[in-house]
Assembly symmetry: C2
Homo-oligomer: 391 residues x 2
């Protein structure tokens, strides 16, 4: 299955996307459909010692959505943009995924309008993988949905859990809802309703988490609306720049600093790589009927290569099938929106999950491997309080 790469998207296009594609084809053996101006793509391929082939195919598109274009205008006017044509490849079944470092608003808009949502998904959401003390944390939604209902947060939790488990290989991802405190009484009306439902679902739900847990490995999937998620993410980026600035002036301020910098130079490069966005390889948009990876506008070839890897893994491991299966096992989450407290949902939940539990207990076997989270977790949750989030 081809992965369609928007060869014209991003600040460094077409050089970085094409170079990244060549690296990805070599390293992961994936087949890529490079979408954009075919002359320019051919030039870039030859600059990388390659030519058009079945593994590095070209799909011509005559227009480019610029970073400054308004997404709405871009979607309506540029009918032959590289990005739109890339999504058309997926819609037509010629490719399974789109990777783009272009205008992220346009990527979002085209993904939703061209691919549509998966069954039962109300709103697609962006997962951003942020650095943490050990491993990384999936923050969902990182900016696609500014105003959310409880049902959306619950769906983000399910989709984020599936992504962390199926693509990132975390056995039983700990899921938390971002809030202004750990107590059940904290949060907004929306987070409280989502929190109540999530604490009864067969997820490894650890409850509310605070902002300080995003980077301390206390949680694997942090769930929030796109407004708060974007602000948390940008706050991290800003604080990173701030500390970098502080360190730079510390190293430059004296001979001791300069000498220390020389001693640490190599370790700093390693440290930076561990936080490095390029390693993460873009943010998946979960919930559309196809795989979409939104890469950073300033993506390097390495970042593009890793974004292609993430697209490849998402396809190979069937992330969308897992999302659909997980959502289909849930009760009608719409009920949650109606009463705002999720009361109605309990009876539905009990009916839905009790039989599975009883059957599993009787058979003495663990539940199916693609069940959300470890089955025993749900059993204990029915009787006991959710555990406190890790400090």
């Amino acid at each position: 299955m081809y992965i369609a790469l928007d060869a014209m998207g991003g600040d460094l296009a077409p050089q970085a996307p094409v170079a990244g594609a060549v690296q990805a084809a070599r390293e992961y053996g994936v087949s890529l459909l490079l979408v954009g101006d075919q002359e320019k793509i051919r030039q870039e391929l030859s600059r990388n010692g390659q030519c058009e082939s079945s593994q590095l195919a070209i799909q011509h598109a005559s227009e480019v959505i610029e970073m400054g274009d308004s997404p709405v205008a871009a979607l309506r006017r540029k009918r032959d943009s590289s990005l739109r044509v890339a999504f058309t490849q997926v819609k037509d079944g010629k490719a399974g995924a789109v990777v783009s470092a272009g205008n992220s608003g346009a990527v979002l808009g085209l993904a939703v309008t061209r691919l549509g949502c998966l069954p039962d998904v109300e709103r697609p959401a962006i997962v951003t993988v942020v650095p943490a003390l050990s491993g990384r944390t999936c923050l969902v939604d990182a900016g696609a949905n500014v105003e959310c209902k409880p049902v959306h947060l619950v769906q983000f939790a399910i989709m984020g859990e599936v992504y962390a488990r199926v693509v990132r290989g975390i056995r039983s991802p700990r899921v938390g809802v971002l809030s202004n405190g750990e107590e059940d009484s904290k949060g907004t009306e929306t987070t409280r309703a989502a929190h109540t439902v999530l604490s009864r679902l067969p997820l490894n739900y650890i409850g509310y988490i605070e902002g300080r847990e995003l980077n301390n490995s206390g949680v694997d999937v942090a769930v929030t609306d796109g407004f708060t998620g974007n602000i948390a993410l940008k706050t991290m980026e800003g604080f990173y720049d701030f500390t970098q600035g502080q360190l730079r002036s510390l190293f430059a301020s004296s001979w001791r600093g300069k000498l220390a910098f020389l001693l640490l130079k190599r370790s700093f490069a390693d440290l930076r790589a561990s936080i490095d966005y390029d390693e993460v390889g873009g943010a998946p948009l979960l919930g559309t009927d196809g795989v979409t990876i939104i890469a950073h506008g300033s993506s390097s070839p390495k970042a593009i290569k890793n974004a292609i890897r993430v697209a490849h893994e998402s396809l190979q491991r069937g992330v969308n099938r897992h999302i659909t299966e997980s959502l289909q096992r849930l009760p009608d989450l719409e009920a949650l929106t109606a009463d705002g407290r999720g009361r109605k949902i309990w009876s539905q939940l009990r009916q839905k999950f009790r039989p599975t539990k009883d059957a599993a207990a009787e058979a003495g076997t663990p539940a199916a491997p693609d069940k959300i989270g470890p089955p025993n977790r749900h059993d204990t949750r029915d009787e006991t309080e959710p555990p406190e989030p890790a400090e």
Copy 2:
């Protein structure tokens, strides 16, 4: 005017509060009313080479609100707590301010119930001063109000601006509303309504700011609801811990690291001090009829000393008088809540501000020094678009 210090509040009470009080009395010449168990306070005073005096007076209180007490229970049951008695001193006119490192929920609850709000203030808000590349940024609201209406955000902006100008001495503080992007179309319904009103008020309003601007000195007052403010703040704290952890392991991992650490040890201490919470001295709660400074639960004597300094400056510079005057000059912000867009408000605004502007122009003099922001700013704003926030 006395400053009432909750001598029993905080993880290190009564040692840290009393030691901080002794330092503040010496350094700033302020008079303090130490509220709490008089025997313990006397012991701590003598440990600091002091005894009860008119400058270091004691007000006995038999109970203590513990950090783990539920604020509601604490307020209802412990009628003779040191915190409650401290607020009573302000209510009775015996003191002008309360400083406490105790249970912050209880501080908030008692401040609102004992002191009440200033005229025209709908909701008091917490200002937290966060480190930035040069200087610091006032984040308001840092956690007092989880769900906010546009009128609240507008009031937070006014109160934050007054605090930055009057207490922190910034001549014309740049005010921004925290959002998920800089364009007017971004944000929630609530932020958009607040944004529209703020861009027409005589403030140095620079528009929407993103999370990355909180620590890069692009703004002096960042306005948000208490839910988002708390998450942004805790995200910074978490990211700080994360980078500290990374640096620690970098220094410990090799002889080069260890040597570099020895070289940098002193500079690191300076760096830490520049970010240090202790230097800031607590978060003022703005909008109540009295001065309240919420210090961190783990406040050291130095943090308490600085919190007392902030209380002293707030009293001396009449921050509450300035807030009241600024709010009284505004049109009826309630109208904003009614139509959600603030359309009605324009006509009121024009009537309210045009005469002042014309009068100032005729007289050829700058507006009164306590006017919010530079008067000319408003003149240009009526005709032109608000400038882009600084990068």
